[in-house]
């Protein structure tokens, strides 16, 4: 029916699973992170299960990097698909220790591309090895599940809302680990979620779903600034960009980052030139002016051209701006009031100056490591006997020396 293209993940599913109609087609690069985003109940999990081979739609097509897993004539059963699958619910085998859980899917001959020690370090699993899954917190369980999936030496990692069952504190604890995976491992990843705040931190591609259908697919930044899609017009609208570090101003502690059509100055610790750095710029942190401000505290002011104007409620407007003179550079979003919009006489195609008040640096190549005092309360939804075990766990963390900061997102106000 179709041939598989090397370097692509190609999915075409149509039919119904448990009377839920699914008609999902998309193709994303077999490199980096592709996020499938949509409201709960839109069929995201069904797609993940089809990719894993746990559900079978007769008219399905699934090819990963040139290898056909399913078409009209073939259907590879799940255990023959080199996939790492992490789902929302706790999935550790209760009768095995953490170590034996981790090794359950690991191939027997020793030298493997993804080594045991490497995974232990990446996910900080060493202190948990000899415990039983029932003595882990929700966040720890998900870390073990991720490690186990990685050790099965997959060629594709599918994460189906791995943070979905965790409370917000446990989410913050585990998110840095999730962010590190695509950087540390050359492994394509499909990340399924309904929270844009998670996805915009590390996704490269985005597939948007609604009621079993794909509504849009493409590079994350392109969809974020697409006026026809709901992302740009939402209240939490923001853009994610990968900028290149081009220098550091040691006198003032400012990191210099290069974007197409702009050169950003952000207060941050130094990074090596050439390193890619994920940025997040929220629409409400960008304002516009008709004339270049002559004296002001905002460092990042760039000429830009208005590409589109999207009303937000009765009083506000989101602008899609293309940076650079003539609007040839990167697109960002700005949130202004309708009053300013009218009084400045703005419309599509008008040249303005974009003022970026706040730029967040996300998931740097080396995530910031910080030791947290042992008294810091930790997320622990599944903990039944509260106090004594909590103490044990904190001291185990202390002993392990490092623990990731709860706030790995270094937000900086530049005013």
């Amino acid at each position: 029916m179709r041939t598989a293209t090397p370097g692509r993940i190609e999915i075409a599913l149509s039919g119904s699973i448990a009377s839920f109609p699914l008609d999902t087609r998309f193709s994303v690069p077999a490199k980096g992170v592709a996020a499938i985003f949509g409201p709960p109940g839109c069929g995201k999990t069904a797609v993940a299960r089809c990719i894993a081979g746990l559900e079978r739609l007769p008219a399905g097509f699934c090819a990963i990097d040139g290898e056909v897993w399913q078409d009209k004539t073939t259907f590879r059963p799940p255990h023959l698909r080199p996939i790492g699958y992490v789902s929302q619910e706790a999935s550790l085998f209760p009768h095995l220790s953490v170590r034996r859980n981790l090794l359950y899917g690991a191939p027997k001959p020793k030298p493997t591309p993804i080594a045991f020690d490497e995974v232990l370090e990446l996910l900080d699993l060493a202190p948990l090895l000899d415990r039983s899954p029932s003595h882990l917190s929700g966040g720890e369980r998900q870390r073990v599940a991720m490690g186990r999936a990685l050790l099965s030496q997959p060629r594709l990692l599918v994460m189906d809302e791995p943070l979905g069952a965790l409370d917000s504190c446990a989410k913050r604890e585990i998110l840095p680990f999730v962010e590190r995976l695509p950087e540390k491992l050359a492994l394509p990843m499909i990340y399924i979620g309904h929270d844009m705040a998670e996805i915009e931190r590390f996704a490269d591609h985005l597939v948007m779903m609604e009621r079993g259908m794909v509504t849009a697919a493409g590079p994350l930044h392109v969809l974020q600034t697409d006026p026809a899609l709901p992302l740009a017009a939402s209240r939490e609208a923001a853009i994610s960009l990968d900028a290149v570090v081009s220098g550091y101003d040691g006198r003032y502690g400012l990191l210099i980052l290069r974007l197409k059509g702009a050169r950003l100055l952000v207060p941050a610790p130094p990074l090596a030139p050439g390193v890619h750095q994920r940025l997040r710029i929220a629409a409400y942190d960008v304002s516009v002016a008709r004339e270049a401000p002559r004296a002001g505290s905002i460092l990042n002011v760039f000429p830009a051209r208005i590409r589109a104007c999207l009303p937000l409620g009765a009083a506000e407007i989101t602008l899609v701006l293309a940076l650079g003179t003539g609007g040839s550079g990167t697109e960002i979003l700005a949130r202004i009031t309708r009053f300013s919009f009218d009084s400045l006489g703005l419309k599509d195609g008008v040249d303005v100056f974009a003022q970026l008040k706040h730029v967040s640096l996300l998931s740097a190549s080396e995530p910031p490591l910080q030791t947290i005092p042992a008294s810091t309360p930790t997320a622990d939804p599944g903990d039944r006997q509260a106090t004594p075990r909590r103490e044990t766990r904190s001291s185990a963390r202390e002993a392990s020396g490092i623990f990731l900061s709860l706030h790995s997102c270094r937000a900086t106000h530049v005013t």
Binding site: P77, P78, H79, S87, H95, G105, S134
Partner: protein
């Protein structure tokens, strides 16, 4: 105590042997059967489940009667047995085992089936995404997780066989040293109004039953604590 002849010790050995052999066969036959009943969506499952459950409601004598017909020299199994030079399975230890297995099968299959059903598809799906073939997943995930159900089934099967009586008399024929198990001894004692021996034997069997159940419960509790 002197009235307890060596015969009764022989009978005790025979009873334990019967119960052990039966339990092992029950687990070997019952586990895959329970697996199929719990997981197959075929309409046949309910028909098979009904057949397996029949001994629960059927008088043991009825079951034994049909078995006798089947196993006897003129029955199909008897004819088959004659191919190997045997004459009949009736009134033999082997026949006794067949009868005990069939009458205890529902007690063994039901708890295992329930455990497998309660486990759901999830653990096996996870195993499959970790490259475990269905057979490997069955032995490394499904069986270990079903341990409480398997233990319950083993206890029920063993205890039921120790106490089996109707089947013993009908198929076994109450032959001393060959098919005369303890419950049959007890029956004979009562028939001969040897109340003292009867109460000793009944008391011992009661104590034994209590000990077996208690031991297995403790083993399960201990092993569960160690694994968590």
């Amino acid at each position: 105590m002197d009235s307890f002849s060596p015969e009764i010790w022989q009978s005790l050995g025979l009873t334990i042997e019967l119960a052990s052999v039966t339990t092992v066969i029950l687990l070997i036959v019952g586990t895959p059967l329970a697996w199929w009943l719990a997981r197959s969506k075929s309409l046949w499952t309910e028909a098979v489940a009904t057949m397996i459950a029949l001994p629960l409601v059927l008088p043991p004598t009825v079951l034994s009667f049909y078995l006798l017909v089947l196993l006897g020299p003129n029955g199909p199994v008897g004819l088959l047995a004659s191919l190997w030079g045997g004459r009949t399975l009736a009134f033999t230890f082997a026949g006794l085992v067949v009868g005990s297995v069939l009458s205890a099968l529902p007690l063994v299959v039901q708890p295992i089936r329930n455990t497998f059903a309660a486990m759901g598809d999830r653990p096996l799906e996870i195993a499959a995404t970790l490259r475990a073939s269905p057979l490997y997943a069955f032995f490394t995930v499904a069986l270990p997780l079903a341990r409480p159900g398997l233990l319950t089934a083993a206890v029920l099967g063993f205890a039921h066989t120790i106490g089996t009586f109707g089947v013993v008399l009908m198929i076994g024929g109450n032959i001393p040293g060959r098919t005369k198990v303890l419950s049959a001894f007890l029956f004979d004692f009562v028939q001969e109004s040897r109340w003292r021996e009867a109460s000793w034997l009944a008391g011992a069997m009661l104590m034994f039953a209590v000990a077996v159940v208690l031991a297995l419960t403790l083993i399960d509790k201990y092993s569960r604590r160690r694994s968590t």
